[in-house]
């Protein structure tokens, strides 16, 4: 028994051909679109395939050319069965069909179908049939001819575009790919069409893409993503297109390899600049350190040491920036942790201890905030050690911060003497306190002091919650 597959988006047409051919003893399978047809031929090898030309998503011409890529179907006959057959003249041979029948009244069309099948079976038709069968039953329409020409013109334009363009149906299966998309994805059309976009692992893995599409369905904002494939970088933009009758997704893949390479080069350069600034500050800090060792005047030693601590604080910001992946923002907790341990290690004198507690909400800060903040913390800890912990043992400092909106309210506290001649803005003339005021102004904040069983300072800083 001969096997037949009929592909048409009109149910009545499928029913007509199915009942016509089943009566003649054929085994008939039907498909309402190209995707269903391609799914069927993965497990069913028809001897003859009838294909309509005008179908949603995968058009008949495209379906025929994809079917021709299947080795298993190389001996199958493919017949176009179309309502625009009168207008396409003999083009069906160009896209790989063996014959073309014009749709018309069922009785005439039925005769043409069964006649052609008999010809195939009996061997009277061995090669392609150039002339469209049944054109005597229909007439050529100028408007259809114009529409076909317009569509072909659009195809030429789409295939000339350097960006890869895919269309996905609502189940995210690929139903169209222009030439650039095929070249980018390096997948043959037979595999590409009907594949799920996420299965092509673009971007990094299918799961990420499924999540991305889930976001699209939930109407989340569509951000472009840059993906790497075979050493090339592509920016992928996805548009959700809804028409009166259908919905689909248009995927635009733009080669941004040259921009990405420039960006990587610039990132390397910026990292290098941060690295060099940090190294230069470290070099000056080392020289100042040598100078401290060479100076006997206690007051000069103290000034140089304070200067060195401030430089180390700025160097730490640069060090964290070049070691990280973000040139604009630092992790606040990591930064303050490094700062506290570094300052306390260098400030503490033999026999003393300083315990520090950090209780900060997770956030990032930009570099314009990080440098003043580093200096503020340096001044506060130095003052606690110098003027607060006057006993032999040392003390405890705590930095706490909670976020409201884009602002963190910060409280610094020690358990030292809180002698107002050193800590109070009203009663002290220390340079350090003047610096604290100026540095807080830089980050848009006031700073207040109160004696709360130790020195307690409150200020705020701009943050991004993470």
């Amino acid at each position: 028994m001969k096997k037949v597959l009929v592909v048409d988006n009109h149910v009545m047409m499928l029913k007509f051909v199915e009942s016509l051919l089943e009566k003649k003893g054929y085994e008939v399978r039907t498909a309402e679109d190209g995707i269903a047809a391609l799914d069927i031929v993965k497990e069913y090898k028809p001897d003859v395939i009838f294909v309509d030309l005008i179908m949603p998503y995968i058009r008949g011409e495209k379906l025929v050319s994809i079917l021709r890529e299947f080795d298993e179907l190389k001996n199958s006959r493919i017949v176009i069965l179309s309502g625009i057959a009168a207008e396409i003249s003999s083009d069906h041979l160009d896209f790989g069909a063996d014959a073309c029948i014009a749709k018309g009244p069922f009785n005439k069309m039925g005769e043409h179908i069964t006649g052609l099948l008999s010809g195939f079976e009996q061997g009277s038709i061995s090669g392609p049939v150039k002339d469209v069968i049944g054109t005597e039953d229909v007439y050529k329409r100028a408007i259809t001819t114009e529409l076909i020409a317009g569509r072909r013109h659009s195809d030429i334009i789409m295939d000339s575009i350097s960006d890869g363009i895919l269309e996905l149906n609502k189940d995210f299966r690929i139903v169209y790919a222009n030439n650039a998309a095929k070249a980018i994805l390096k997948v043959d059309e037979k595999t590409l069409i009907t594949s799920r976009f996420s299965e092509l692992c673009l971007p990094p893995n299918g799961h990420v893409m499924e999540e991305y599409f889930k976001g699209i369905r939930e109407k989340k904002p569509l951000e472009p993503v840059v993906v790497e494939r075979d050493g090339l970088f592509f920016e992928v933009n996805i548009r959700h297109v809804i028409t009166e009758t259908d919905e689909s997704y248009i995927v635009i893949m733009q080669d941004v390899t040259h921009l990405k390479k420039e960006l990587i080069a610039k990132e390397k350069l910026i990292k290098e600049v941060f690295h060099r600034v940090k190294n230069n500050l470290a070099l000056i800090s080392s020289i100042v350190n040598l100078q401290i060792g060479d100076t006997e005047d206690e007051r000069v030693r103290d000034v140089l040491f304070t200067l060195k601590t401030r430089m180390d604080s700025i160097a730490l910001v640069h060090s964290q920036i070049y070691k990280g992946s973000d040139f604009e923002y630092l992790d606040l907790v990591d930064f303050t942790e490094s700062l506290f341990s570094s300052i306390i290690y260098s400030e503490i004198s033999e026999g003393k201890y300083v315990v520090y507690n950090l209780n900060l909400s997770k956030a990032t800060i930009d570099i314009d905030t990080a440098i003043p903040l580093g200096l503020i913390i340096t001044e506060l800890i130095s003052n606690s050690i110098k003027y607060g912990f006057t006993g032999e043992k040392g003390g405890e400092v705590t930095l706490s911060g909670s976020i409201t909106g884009e602002t963190m309210s910060v409280v610094y506290k020690d358990n030292g003497t809180a002698d107002e001649q050193y800590f109070s803005f009203e009663h002290s003339h220390l340079l350090s306190l003047q610096l604290l005021n100026a540095l807080c102004a830089q980050i848009g904040s006031d700073i207040t002091f109160k004696n709360n069983g130790g020195a307690e300072y409150c200020f705020s800083l701009p943050v991004r919650k993470t």
């Binding site: 029913k15 069922f106 009166e244």
Partner: protein, 112 residues
Amino acid sequence: MEKNNESAYNLDELASRIEFDREDYLPLLSLFVEQTILDLEEIREQIPERNEKVISERIHNIKGAALNLELDRIADILTAASVLNHAGKHGEMVSSIDKCMKEADTLKRLLE
């Protein structure tokens, strides 16, 4: 010449027009009527919107199937409706669509 009432349609005669047995013809006609009514309802909804594209697609669907089944009167009504649609005379289309719906309803009653 068909008359515009129920007796104008004879199922055996319609089936013989396309050289089908009655039992093979009825499922096809049933599919046609079902889809045609849906398409005509869609056209009625789109007329106030003057949605030429969707109206044209629906007319094309019904007309093609009507010609397949040699239901010439329905095809002729829709040819006129198609001209009005492309001319932007959507108000004048309403009576054509009503006429076509009447034909489809007649066929539906015959099938019942």
